[in-house]
């Protein structure tokens, strides 16, 4: 019997009795179905499969090996343990996204420890753990290190709660580690001593990323580690590693596909310069380049030799970069698809992007000086226009600017109608079109009207309810919407709740949306992952009403000191099969 993944109907009929239990109406035995399903990876597909019929549900749950939980509170460890028995890889996401911007109090939750306890009991063959916006303590890391002999990959994105002691446990105990990937960590000094804890015979590492940890590491230990891990393809060091140290690492790992440099600021002798230049030239497989702290135009040419195959360049922390040298650098990167840059390159730099990067699909422009309102530099609508003209494949943009016009955005989306992610942040809240002084409604109206595939939208500037009328009406594929300082009345939010059939995540802050708006979505929230509303006009009464009407929703209010008792200043609503949180801290009211 030779099951083909795509055509289960063609499998042999149920006449053979050596194939195990067979259901009367099923065209093929369970084992066949399970074999077929073992090829299905996507959790969305598996979700659909599990809904077809009971035996498919069972076959699916027995064969699922990768678990994806988009909201750790939507389900409980117990429920998961009962349903799935053979999990090897887990992805867990915790806090709402606004926690990245310090809008959530500390100790809000999303501690992975209870999950680890369950995994240790039920999934002893766990190989991968990927966490996003969760808290993992040293205790958790130690439990992880000691409970899973096959453990291979640890990825922590925007996580907190740990110190180098936890990482030491991982390095010391996990013999088969292939990946240690720590991104955007929100811890204080973690310390770098853990890098020295890998055993001398340990050589399986393929991915090592500690770029966001700020502890000094012992370079000799790092060098030895890199030299013996022959399969290393991703190396992202932190700022403590100097240029000449980087050169020594590159000599050991010329086959890197992704490199995050350390500090790019160093006085180099001519010989050192040459050595480093050569080392970079030898990196012929480099696709992703990041780091480049304190990179100045003086040393950028060192990189030229490594840029031919570069597809993703992250210069977002190279905030001393100016447009001239940046343009020269870009000329060496013809294959760029993804570019992250600081706004110090200014509109001129973005013009160079438009000229040099015809294949560009994603652009992110971060502000070098986000809090200085006197700072008149940075990028404007002109830079964005220039990129849109030269890069027709552009579909993902994150753009921080201090001024924008409706007309510019209309033109931009005409040039690039394929936008899937349009995140525009005009940094002064509620700022109108700077030329016409009108609201920015027409800009976002143009985005949703012209870009049918829009999946993610972040709006900013002065916006009335009209923006939300447009979004509700036209953005049929929209899944994530972020709104700040916008709207005129409840009607705005109602338009969203009544439109946008595919909406999954809605995050709102500082908008005039009240209880009526909140309640207008009560039928929709169960089809969404979550709703966040802060500093709006929602009251406790409204929240309680929503909670009462929707038993499958968790409605949580985060209480703050000094707040008015009747107001609900931070509201987090999400669907859950696990009921209200059991671990809520005292300032989180679960209604």
């Amino acid at each position: 019997m030779d099951p083909e993944p795509k055509k289960p109907e063609d499998s042999p009929s149920n006449s053979g009795n050596s194939h195990g239990p067979v259901h009367p109406q099923s065209p093929f035995p369970d084992e066949a179905l399970e074999k077929v399903l073992s090829f299905v990876d996507s959790h969305k597909d598996r979700s659909s499969i599990s809904l077809v019929r009971k035996d498919w549900y069972n076959a699916e749950r027995w064969t699922r090996s990768k678990l994806f939980i988009g909201n750790c509170y939507a389900v409980s460890p117990e429920i998961v343990a009962k349903r799935f028995r053979r999990i090897k890889s887990v992805t867990l996401k915790g806090k709402p996204r606004f926690s990245d911007f310090n809008m959530l109090p500390l100790d809000w939750g999303a501690d992975v420890y209870p999950w680890l306890v369950m995994f240790a009991k039920v999934y002893p063959f766990l190989e991968e753990l990927r966490l996003k916006r969760m808290t993992i303590t040293d205790e958790g890391l130690e439990l992880l290190a000691k409970s899973f002999p096959c453990f291979k990959a640890l990825s922590l994105s925007s996580c907190d709660g740990f110190t180098e002691n936890g990482l030491k446990a991982i390095a010391s105990h996990c013999r088969n580690l292939t990946e240690v990937n720590i991104q955007d960590s929100i811890t204080e000094d973690v310390g770098g001593g853990w890098l020295s804890c890998f055993p001398e015979n340990f050589s399986s590492l393929e991915i090592l990323n500690f770029s966001s940890l700020n502890g000094d590491v012992n370079f000799d230990d790092l060098e030895r580690l890199v030299s013996r891990c022959k399969l290393l393809r991703v190396l992202k060091v932190n700022e403590s590693i100097t240029l000449d140290e980087l050169q020594r690492l590159l000599v050991h790992a010329p086959r890197l596909t992704e490199l995050g440099t350390g500090s790019f600021l160093q006085e180099l002798t001519p010989r050192q310069y040459e050595e480093i230049e050569t080392a970079f030239c030898n990196c012929r497989n480099l696709q992703v380049l990041s780091g480049l702290w304190e990179a100045t135009s003086v040393y950028l040419p060192l990189l030229y030799g490594a840029c031919a195959s570069l597809t993703f360049l992250n210069l977002s922390v190279a905030t001393t970069l100016q447009s001239g040298e940046f343009a020269k650098f870009l000329a060496h990167c013809p294959n760029l698809r993804c570019l992250w840059v600081s706004d110090t390159v200014e509109d001129k730099g973005l013009e160079a992007v438009g000229l040099s990067c015809p294949l560009l699909e994603e652009l992110r422009v971060y502000p070098a000086d986000p809090y200085d309102r006197d700072h008149l530099d940075g990028v404007t609508e002109l830079g964005f226009l220039a990129v849109s003209r030269g890069c027709p494949k552009l579909h993902y943009v994150l753009y921080f600017c201090r001024r924008m016009t409706n007309a510019a955005v209309v033109t931009i989306v005409q040039n690039c109608p394929n936008f899937t992610h349009f995140r525009l942040c005009i940094m002064t809240p509620s700022q109108p079109d700077y030329l016409t002084n009108e609201p920015m409604d027409e800009a976002f109206g143009a985005v949703v009207k012209t870009c049918p595939k829009i999946k993610r939208l972040s709006v900013s500037g002065l916006l009335t309810d009209r923006t939300f009328e447009y979004i509700g009406k036209y953005a049929k594929d929209l899944e994530t919407l972020s709104v700040a300082f916008a709207g005129s009345s409840d009607w705005g939010m109602q338009c969203i709740m009544e439109g946008c059939p595919k909406l999954r995540k809605l995050e709102i802050r500082d908008c005039p949306f009240g209880d009526a708006a909140l309640l207008s979505g009560r039928e929709k929230y169960e089809m969404m992952r979550s709703l966040w509303m802060s500093a709006c006009s929602v009251t406790m009464k409204g929240c309680r009403l929503l909670a009462r009407e929707s038993p499958r929703l968790n409605v949580e209010v985060i209480r703050e000191e000094g707040g008015n008792e009747a107001q609900a200043l931070k509201v987090y609503v999400y669907r859950s099969v696990a009921g209200p949180r059991q671990d809520a801290p005292p300032f989180v009211l679960t209604l």
Binding site: N214, P370, R373
Partner: protein, 306 residues
């Protein structure tokens, strides 16, 4: 052409009274009413009552012009007027915490209100440029009507930049007066951490020439965190209760310390400036409660945390 609208979201500009929520201004704008700054709202800054200070021995922070101030200079007003540091410096000797603590008297920080320059982040930039900017605001603060945006009150979580990114930006903000924009080899970056703050900052010691400068700069840099703590409760722009403010003031006295080349934690201000910049490896704004009265073990604790 409209003036960029300033909205004081923190709400500390009004003395202990509730404030309309800012979006109503936007709503007004949307309805076609030209938004004008609500002068009454921004009118009175209670700057003196709620000020974050990081004063140093023998110094008065340059922008303090006397006045009521609940806050106390970090290293004690008692030392005001004395020539800085020299008399307490014995060559070759280092003062540990207990000596410095016993000598200096009461320290504390108060919380900064809507100070104009107070809440911006300006890692590494030249403090000298900022001091003149403070003066115009202080002149205005006594109730004179304001036509230009004066409040630089920082909104929590806006613009939406992640914490880790703020760390790196603190180092790399280009100096406006440096045409090449390149930090030279003579720069001396040290990390500054503050107990309870979600991220570190880095500053270039070479851009400062004296303790008052660095103290003013750090004050500005970190005031947003103490705001954050009481800002959690102010997110609704509700009034700040007196008892709440008092709790913050008395509960959160901060001490500026640094780790020197030998790994010892010292109080900032004890040694001549040049010696300080030579030996300082990192800075830490520590809770006074941790430092005072725990001197020998504090040293221990600091060491083990590294």
């Amino acid at each position: 052409m409209s003036i960029p609208q300033e909205h004081d979201y923190i709400g500390l500009s009004e003395p202990l009274s509730s404030e309309k929520i800012s979006y109503k201004m936007a709503a007004a704008a949307a309805e076609g009413v030209t938004p004008s700054l609500n002068v009454e709202k921004i009118g009175v800054f209670n700057l003196k009552e709620t000020e974050l200070r990081l004063g140093l021995p023998g110094s008065e922070a340059p922008d303090r012009k006397g006045g009521i101030g609940i806050g106390v200079s970090l290293f004690g007003k008692e030392l005001k007027g004395e020539s800085m540091c020299v008399k307490s410096f014995v060559s070759g000797a280092k003062r540990g915490f207990s000596d410095a603590i016993n000598g200096a008297g009461k320290w504390g920080l108060s919380i900064n209100g809507g100070s104009a320059a107070g809440l911006g982040e300006n890692g590494g930039s030249n403090v000298k440029e900022e001091i003149p900017a403070l003066k115009p605001v202080e002149e205005r603060k006594n109730g004179a009507s304001i036509t230009a945006p004066a409040s630089k009150a920082q909104v929590v979580g806006w613009p939406p930049i992640r914490s880790f990114r703020k760390n790196t930006l603190a180092t790399n903000t280009p100096k406006k007066d440096d045409a090449a924009g390149k930090p030279g080899p003579g720069c001396l970056y040290v990390k500054v951490s503050m107990d309870g703050a979600p991220y570190l900052r880095k500053i270039d010691l070479k851009t400062y020439c004296s303790y008052p400068e660095i103290s003013a700069a750090l004050e500005k840099m970190f005031s947003c965190f103490t705001i954050g703590q009481c800002g959690q409760g102010l997110a609704a722009k509700e009034h700040l209760s007196e008892s709440h403010l008092m709790d913050l003031l008395h509960g959160s006295e901060y001490v500026l310390t640094y780790e020197d080349k030998d790994g010892d934690w010292m109080l900032v201000g004890d040694v001549p400036w040049e010696m300080f910049t030579d030996s300082c490896r990192r800075l830490r704004i520590m809770k006074g409660a941790d430092a005072i009265g725990l001197a020998p073990r504090t040293m221990q604790k600091c060491k083990s945390q590294n």
